[in-house]
Point group: C2
Chain length 547, copies 2
């Protein structure tokens, strides 16, 4: 039996585009001799469809789309994912389902049993978990067909109280198929391979695993669909961060020699983050119908990195940098920014803010009177820059890229409605120390980002001789504490046991918790870690805990 | 048996304050002769604690708090709500639990079975649903002790597949107790009474129901705790939007005559919204540790309403209005705003934006060149006003109140980083037509809001002779469509069947769906309807459905 895996980039709710892609891949699979072609979880509507699932009209369109796809399934079977109505009186209205399509019709429907409801996932919000599991019959083979998380509850991860494969194995399947939508994070790529291998070792049969690629706002699917033979060897590993299509014959796979994973798979963490962010920008723009990006170039490392990533995603002709020096800007910040744009051959504008700033202070002087310079004036500079950037964006149809990094977003070191503006936050899930690593990686072959930008001490340049280290602990220490607190949920006691000082811990945790109100208004953050700010991290705003 | 109901305003994660409140109410109940005192669901940590629940340190503090509360329970029993660790290997780490405390110890722990995971609720993200239910024994009585949603799955609402009360009734309880955290919406107050009554009619025993009061950021708890006798009469209905404390003797309640509900309960919808919003502002400020609010007064009805509500929440001495006229502002907008401030005896500043606006256009002129005036210049005005408001806020410690209404938030008729700014959105869940009703209600005894403000045609005043109706359908029609689409999830077909024109529906639904990116950066919105923007409505941003 020849099985095609179609690893595609879907668009949530864009039925015409999703259906066309699926249909053309069915035809391709058929032409290339496949007996079956598999698509990802909820491929018909895109993942995650979120509250669109609460609209009966949306469910109807899903049903119509499945029928339309079935109508081309002659001489080949296909598996697609879509929501399906729960016919029972009790329980939620929908199941998350895999449809087996053949001979122009729906042959069988299989419901997901394990519904992730942590981090960015909300599946129990919409779906009833399946409690019964039945084998699919395709081309005369008995197949254990499951959906994503159904294979994930193994050994150390006992989040659920039932086990779909334990039910299916009783029905003596010959083969496991899994359709998935498994978001990228740097730790997740390896974990996914381990989990798939463990299923094969436990159930002693081959596994075909197909998932999504492409970004849906903040959630990035990295691809890497795979086939394992019954010995646990990965006999096919598909591309990362790109669409891909492969046909694998079940007959020969136990004899296929173990393939070393794709060169892509041996990518360093930094290279994976790089590719994920480029894809994230690219898909945000293409799926929103935008083409052109704008950003403020400060002379610092964050905006320099975002500019490089944006150009790689959108092309240099589609990215405009704006330099907005003030009286507090250093000459080297301007020179470094211009050098960067020249290296990248991209357009830039210089729009000094001095006059607008002075005029705003005059405007406010009847209210401010003789109050001394403080954070208010610093924020005014940052906000006037946002007015300029958004003005140009609105006038010429650009979308503003946010350039805040995860460290400053964590501790609230940024101006709301100022440098925190932007349609999408490109590096809001990248700690400052990783920002440095990414820049060094980008410069590994030649100096793209002027070394000055990388080597100088970080500064917001909002008052004379300001440095980040005036207000914040050194990033090397800060980032370690933030990682343990945000990603690992370590509390004050555990952090102190790790050797961090109590006063430092109290200060940092208080900064993180008391800035939820700022992050609540931040742009969606491209997610590359196991715990990004945004939809996967839901913290009370008025909460007092450690705040 | 005398049972005290303590309807309190908790603060998420503020253990010292919550524990003190609970302990002092236990002592009061004891002094007033009660045998048992009941507190709300998760009263120890506040509701909803959200991802704080993922921190082992937070759970430890909950455990310590329950022990501390137990230590004062001598001569009286108490029921408090807190998370508790799931001792089983399988399933999620926690249960949502009710603790029965007596003789200085935890006597029994009861787990919640039905976990709401819709709208603003995420309980299945953290908690394992209980599958076994056991009777509590308190003062020799057998009691069916349940938590909030456990009583809600009756008849028409078959979201769940198990029924806690059906298990408990087999153990022959004499009394039902329910501890709840039930957020306000205008429809919910009546629904809650119906559900409680239905339980009493079905299980034929009295019901004591205690819930929270107070706002936790966007979620407002309205109180209205109640006691029903076995005939279904409401024999006690506690205050709305205020803390309250009542002791009811189980012995006499079947003879208590049916009391007409509190005067509070007969409140009109508009009065309830009014009180909810005032409480929402008040608690946002008190729980964040803020005292002073600032807002921009445009001369329009939205900011006028927010000013009145803010003064009622915070006191006139704590609210500063700022008038920021431009060349496009009408004289009556300025006059009306001043008249409003005089009626309210509150402070205001006048900060014209003309000079800052002209200077910003000069600053941008090398980039804008001779491009004609368009929405870019309109947005610049709105954003410069935000710079002024935030400047004053930062300089003197005010918090900016957002004044966007639900209609304009829905269709994206507002400037991101401009009039969409603010720490909390006061009327973002109130349609424009309801804004008018609220203003008329406020003026019902005397003219507080100048009638001019209410009667003139709504305008953003960002270009000459602009009117909202230039860009939007009439609010009477718009609001009806928005309500059906947002609150009732009616799709295009259903809306056309209701008699709305297809072109109008297509236009409105497209505006709503294509502005998710703007709303994603909006402040938390005080929730007064069954479907508010924010945490209870989770829509894809790059989604294409109806967009």
């Amino acid at each position: 039996m020849k099985i095609a895996l179609a690893q595609l980039n879907y668009h949530i709710g864009n039925f015409s585009s999703n259906v066309e892609k699926i249909k053309s891949n069915i035809l391709r699979a058929k032409m290339e001799g496949a007996d079956l072609v598999m698509f990802g979880e909820l491929s018909v509507c895109g993942y995650p469809p979120r509250d669109f699932l609460e609209f009966p009209d949306f469910i109807l369109r899903c049903e119509e789309a499945v029928k339309e796809i079935a109508s081309v399934c002659f001489g080949i079977s296909a598996i697609v994912g879509a929501p399906v109505k729960n016919p029972n009186v009790e329980g939620k209205d929908l199941f998350n389902a895999a449809f087996v399509l053949v001979d122009g019709k729906i042959k069988s429907v299989h419901h997901k049993g394990l519904l992730p409801n942590y981090d960015v996932f909300d599946e129990y919000r919409y779906f009833e978990p399946a409690k019964a599991f039945h084998i699919a019959e395709i081309c005369g083979k008995k197949i254990a067909l499951t959906i994503c998380e159904d294979l994930w509850d193994v050994e150390e991860n006992l989040m659920y109280t039932q086990w779909p494969m334990e039910e299916l194995i009783k029905q003596q399947p010959e083969l496991m198929l899994n359709i998935a939508a498994s978001p990228f994070s740097t730790e997740h790529v390896e974990m996914r391979r381990v989990v798939m291998k463990r299923n094969v070792e436990k159930y002693k049969m081959p596994l075909f695993y197909v998932q999504h690629v492409g970004a849906q706002t903040e959630i990035i699917f990295d691809g890497g669909s795979m086939v394992l033979n019954e010995k646990g060897d990965v006999v096919c590993e598909m591309k990362y961060f790109e669409e891909d299509f492969q046909i694998i014959d079940t007959e020969g796979i136990s004899n296929i020699e173990y393939r070393t994973p794709n060169i892509e798979v041996n990518k360093s963490e930094i290279l994976m983050i790089h590719d994920a962010l480029v894809l994230g920008i690219k898909d945000y723009f293409s799926k929103m119908g935008f083409t052109k990006a704008i950003l403020g170039l400060s002379g610092g490392i964050d905006s320099a990195l975002v500019l490089v990533l944006a150009i790689r995603a959108l092309g240099k002709e589609n990215v405009l940098s704006v330099l907005m020096p003030s009286e507090f800007s250093s000459q080297h910040s301007i020179d470094d920014s211009i050098a960067l744009c020249k290296n990248l051959e991209c357009g830039y504008e210089i729009v000094p803010i001095n006059d607008a700033y002075e005029e705003m202070l005059d405007t406010l002087s009847p209210v401010f009177k003789s109050a001394p310079f403080n954070v208010a004036e610093e924020n005014i500079q940052a906000r006037l820059r946002a007015v300029i950037l958004m003005g140009i964006a609105n006038k010429f149809g650009y979308v503003l890229l946010n350039t805040s990094n995860k460290s400053e977003a964590a501790v609230g070191y940024g101006t709301l409605y100022g440098d925190m503006c932007g349609g999408i936050s490109v590096i809001g899930d990248v700690y400052k120390t990783k920002v440095f690593e990414l820049c060094r990686f980008i410069n590994s072959e030649k100096e793209i980002i002027p070394n000055n930008i990388i080597s100088k001490a970080p500064s917001a340049e909002l008052r004379p001789n300001q440095k980040d280290s005036d207000s914040l602990p050194e990033y090397e220490i800060l980032d370690k504490v933030l990682f343990e607190y945000i990603e690992k949920r370590q509390g004050p006691k555990e952090l102190i046991e790790m050797g961090f000082e109590k006063t430092l811990i109290d200060r940092i945790l208080k900064m993180v918790n008391s800035n939820e109100w700022k992050r609540a208004q931040m742009a969606p953050v491209l997610r590359v870690s196991q715990k990004a700010f945004g939809s996967g991290r839901r913290m009370p705003i008025v909460g007092k805990y450690l705040g």
